[in-house]
Symmetry: C2
Subunit: 577 residues, 2 copies
């Protein structure tokens, strides 16, 4: 009897439980249906943290693309970020050039679980590596918003080894930038080993590592690819970005942001077009001081970037520098023809000019510690006619021959700096190349791409940096594919390829300032960065998705890079028109 | 004896004083000379607050331009900001259309010295004016960084009077936007009187007032023009900006920023191209809720802006809205052809479609309180061929005739909303205008400007909003002068002018998102704002300087508007190439 009662009781309770379960199930299901109309549903939810998951993501095995679908009662998919990192093209930018093998499995951790080791016999390298690892942790911390995500016992141990013979951390034209990156897993530990010959190589390895780490929006913890072998080195030595801070004063915060973006894309020369004058600054805060140049140099050094300062010394200059008796004519500043004060010719035949210019160059070389210098240009064609009329000393012919003048400038500069300058860079169209020494001179070609200066100068044994204005002048708003697909060396004979030293994107700031520069600079400069690092074949398969991932990384680090397209198109690049 | 001693003592002290003064003078002078070489000088100065003044500014009486010069021992010039506000063109944007008389004298105060009065018999108007005056104070506080600048006894008293008969604060197509602004001075008090018939007029007056107030960088206090008479009202009623939040999700913070920019330029319709679906949002945070629409509407109302929501209901839609049996074919979402999910045709012959669409329209009208609605478009040409093959009910002919369909949509909507809809807006090229009622329909012309739809529709007695894609689609990056100089009504007969209701700048966001939108939107949309408010003659004298001042105001309020040129060119617009 008692047994029967108990069994009946259990049966009733069982039925009640079942009924409750059913009701719960129906409620959940109905709520799921409701979510099909988010506009109605969301109005009740205040804090935008919806518990219901709209989408899950599956890696489509045929197309190797992430496809979204409505989650069922039990979810088998992943978050979009994790799907992107483990499906289809490898999400590294710029693409490594050597061995590249990545696992599709992931490992969860949080930013406090990163341990670091440094192995090197060079004090200066070690010092910089300590800072560089701190930077890596900081960049990872930014994306890891939850304090205690990940399993507590998990660890990521990063070991950086630099074995080369150079106790210098700065980029030179012959610096080896190669690195090897190995990731392996040992139960609850991820071991990351980065090996390089130089600080620069190690830094690049750490940059790549940071791209293999992301935040999973669902589990709210960091993830890392759990196995990887990457051997990587750049195709081109010189990978530059010019920022013009003369036509607009760009505050240091924006210069630092630009250097951050460059480091993320392994660009290695910051060509700083700098005013040497109070005349361009309209207010007291619009000037750069020596301390500013030092600070920018230090910030850049840590990020594997060489600062290369260019100041105007020829006929874009004038009373911004005290030339004594060397300004050849008494015309008022030619404000109109160069749109910033001052514009004036100098008389390069006077020894005083050489002295003054060499002094300035020496100043900047001491500040930036560079082994090359940008001489500028604007010599040949732009002699002010008013000036020619006034001074018989200055003629067009004289300016045409100023290869000699350049040599005298640089000759003196070398002396002042203790023989350290091995190379100087000069804009093309500035000179008669017959007078220049091809072993020391590098020419930066800034003509339209169809002119093919690269081949001409390579035949004359000059090394060339390409900055074709129709392709790589970012202020002219080229589409990122225009920047990316341009391969000026495509038709160059193999024997001449070595003369192509690299390329440089230029940002002239006539109508750009700190507020708009990020948008116009990125991700276009990132597109050039991959062209110069990896020089991939001319197709765009998977490139847009990968560049878009890189763009998201840049945005997460505070850079206002442009978006490449609607999300659906980024996921399905071949299906959008 | 004592007298002599005293006199000798005084003489010695006098000499000492003179000597000290001389030394001081020489030091000051030498320091002044040194400042000619700021690069060298500044390296010692840490906090960028240089005491030495680089420039002072003088209003050149001939050119009416601010000219800079090196200050002498005694300075007679002013700061750049004060020179700009008191020399040359009036720095108001958009330019007032009636009486305009401004003193060139200034009055110093700080933001705590502003007192306000409101005179109106309408409760709702008073409530909004209180908030609007708070907003004015907040905007002024932003630029007044010093706490206690200005003379303590100075006061600025702002009195706003609204005398019209309408107890509504929202913009309708027939709202009177006229205002009068008077500034007068009474010893240590500035009296500002703003008079208008509506809240909107009063708000515009306060906006203009905020443009007559600036911060003087030297005295570090606020300044205001001390006498002014301004009568102002817009040429065109409808001055819109379309923001597409479907191709990219634009977070509310960026929408608010856009509304701030619109208010500063007296634009009055925010055309919100809104997704009605969870399908466009890839993550849970990328959706808008009803609360969001309400919040945006409230934010806009305060700033004199009407929110006009457009959702896709024809063949850019599909399973984002539950049409029951009204989707005519079972094709998968046409993702590729419209680049956002979903794209599908609806069958407008089924009564269910009409019911569903009317319901959505009613929803939005209730949320935004608008008296007009944007019907969208994309009817005539874009019927999916896959769909046509599957369903005999849907043919191109049927879509061509859908003026009737629109009428039935709107007819039903009117019913649901209590007879409040007097006007609906439809994209041109969407329909056969024979079937439309010109007394209720407004056509938004989005063709190339050479098509001259304005004249054609005006002849058919339709009111027209111009959005020529080659001129006013801001995502196509037109130069601000292209936007500004376009006057589609220039050749229209006077009798037809009234059919030109206004214009709208469009920002389609295929490759624009919150990070790049400010730069591409401003100041181009500001250029359109003046075209629509003031419709000035086609010359650019002084316009660049004035727009540049407006751009600086926008930047100071947190909008990343593009810069128009190097500062020297902005000061000397005719001398730059």
């Amino acid at each position: 009897m008692r047994h029967n009662f108990l069994s009946a009781f259990i049966q009733i309770r069982l039925k009640t439980y079942l009924a409750i379960l059913c009701i719960l199930f129906v409620c959940t299901f109905y709520w799921g249906l409701l979510s099909l109309k988010p506009f109605t549903q969301h109005s009740q939810i205040k804090n935008r943290q919806l518990k219901f998951k709209y989408w899950e993501w599956i890696c489509d095995p045929n197309s190797q693309q992430c496809k979204r679908r409505i989650p069922g009662i039990v979810s088998f998919g992943t978050s979009l970020s994790t799907c992107l990192m483990t499906c289809g093209p490898v999400q590294i930018w710029p693409l490594p050039t050597g061995t590249l093998s990545l696992s599709r499995n992931t490992f969860s951790f949080n930013h406090k679980q990163i341990k670091t080791n440094i192995i090197t016999s060079h004090k200066r390298v070690e010092e910089k590596l300590i800072k560089c690892l701190q930077l890596l942790k900081k960049n990872i911390e930014v994306i890891d918003r939850e304090e205690d995500g990940g399993l507590l016992e998990n660890e990521v141990i990063v070991t950086v080894t630099v074995t080369g013979s150079i106790n210098d951390v700065r980029y030179m034209l012959n610096t080896d930038e190669t690195y090897r990156l190995l990731i392996s897993k040992n139960i609850s530990t991820i071991n990351v080993a980065i090996h390089a010959l130089t600080y620069l190589g190690a830094r690049h390895g750490l940059e790549t590592l940071s791209q293999l780490i992301w935040r999973d929006d669902e589990s709210k913890c960091l993830k890392i690819i759990d196995k990887a072998v990457i051997h990587d080195s750049p195709y081109f030595t010189y990978r530059g970005l010019l920022l013009d801070t003369k036509h607009q004063h760009i505050p240091l915060r924006a210069i630092y942001r630009t250097l951050d973006g460059m480091a993320m894309n392994k660009l290695n020369v910051f060509h700083w077009y700098l005013p040497y004058s109070r005349y361009t600054g309209y207010t007291n805060s619009e000037v750069y001081t020596k301390d500013d140049v030092r600070a920018v140099t230090e910030y850049a050094d840590l990020r594997g970037i060489r600062v290369s300062v260019e100041i105007d010394t020829a006929n874009h200059t004038g009373f911004e520098i005290d030339y004594g008796d060397s300004t050849p004519c008494n015309t008022p500043p030619r404000e109109s023809s160069c749109s910033v004060l001052p514009c004036e010719n100098t008389n390069s035949t006077k020894s005083n000019t050489t002295r003054v210019v060499s002094e300035k160059y020496t100043d900047f070389l001491n500040l930036t510690g560079s082994d090359f210098i940008h001489i500028g240009g604007e010599f040949s064609d732009a002699v002010d006619s008013r000036c020619q009329n006034q001074s018989s000393e200055v003629t067009k012919t004289e300016y045409k021959n100023n290869g000699l003048v350049l040599d005298s400038y640089v000759g003196n500069t070398t002396g002042s700096h203790g023989g350290n300058i091995k190379h100087f860079i000069v804009w093309s169209k500035s000179f008669d190349s017959n007078n220049l020494n091809s072993s020391t001179t590098i020419i930066q070609s800034r003509v339209e791409s169809l002119w093919n200066e690269l081949e001409r100068f390579a035949n004359e044994k000059f090394r060339v940096i390409v900055s074709h204005r129709d392709k790589w002048y970012l202020d002219k708003l080229p589409h990122w594919t225009t920047v990316y697909r341009h391969r000026p060396w495509a038709d160059l004979e193999m024997s001449l390829r070595d003369y192509a030293l690299g390329g440089e994107a230029c940002v002239w700031t006539h109508t750009i300032d700190e507020h708009s520069m990020d948008t116009l600079m990125w991700p276009q400069a990132a597109a050039l960065a991959e062209r110069l690092w990896s020089d991939p074949e001319d197709h765009l398969d998977g490139v847009m998705t990968r560049l878009s991932t890189q763009r998201e990384r840049m945005v997460s680090r505070g850079i206002d890079a442009s978006v490449l397209g609607p999300k659906w198109c980024l996921q399905n690049p071949n299906e959008c028109n």
